[in-house]
């Protein structure tokens, strides 16, 4: 697999658990890998001023976001000795309890896989122009800000 090829990151709606299982299965033929690290972001039912979040509606400056994702990949491959890395992020509505971010890094050994996975998550949260509208159960909303 060409690690430099731009890969589509955004998926419409929640990331299905089957996609995660399939990703693991797809790497079983790559026997130089000794460790995978996976991060899954899940929508939390935050309570804010007595109202409960029921979903987040994600939007993005897609053209810039795809470029930033690519830059993060390039930086990760130069910093870490990883075999491969996959990132998926939701657009549109994702309900509480569903998965909105899936980062999957693989390496010969665990330490590199874990550090690279963490690097991806922190970079994505800080630098990718993605916006989240938190929808409450009464259908009002507020805009999410990463801490």
């Amino acid at each position: 697999m060409d690690k430099k090829k731009p890969i589509k990151v955004f998926v419409q709606g929640a990331i299905p658990p089957e996609k995660i299982a399939n990703s693991i299965a797809n790497h079983q033929s790559k026997t130089n890998i000794g460790a995978h690290s996976i991060f899954l972001g899940q929508i939390r039912a935050d309570e804010i001023d007595g109202k409960t979040v029921s979903a987040i509606n994600y939007s993005a400056y897609e053209e810039m976001a795809e470029n930033v994702f690519h830059e993060i990949r390039e930086a990760a491959f130069s910093k870490f000795d990883i075999t491969c890395a996959h990132i998926y992020h939701s657009l549109g509505e994702v309900k509480t309890g569903e998965i909105c971010l899936f980062v999957f890094t693989s390496s010969a050994h665990r330490k590199v896989a874990i550090e690279a996975c963490n690097y991806f998550v922190e970079e994505i949260k800080a630098n990718v122009p993605i916006f989240g509208k938190e929808i409450f159960e009464d259908e009002t909303h507020q805009w999410k800000v990463n801490k």
Partner: protein, 78 residues
């Protein structure tokens, strides 16, 4: 000269639109355009708004004909 302006998230909500083409005076900087639009659309918490000119996060550049200027609220990915 004409520049394309894009609005996202809560800024698009304040502006009531996601994009528009603006005719700006030659020599206008990104930060000046930001100030104008913040006033025009009553954009809240302007310090938290980042501008991307042709996808580069830089408020200080002078704008050129055909530039794409994006008004970005705080990021919330993940």
């Amino acid at each position: 000269m004409k520049v394309t302006v894009k609005y996202f998230g809560m800024i698009a909500e304040s502006a009531g639109r996601t994009d528009e083409v603006l005719d700006v005076v030659s020599g206008t900087s990104a930060i000046e355009l930001k100030d104008q639009q913040v006033q025009k659309y009553q954009i809240q918490d302007p310090e938290s708004v980042q501008l991307a000119v042709n996808q580069n996060l830089d408020n200080k550049v002078e704008l050129n004909e055909g530039d794409e200027v994006a008004f970005l609220p705080p990021f919330a990915g993940g």
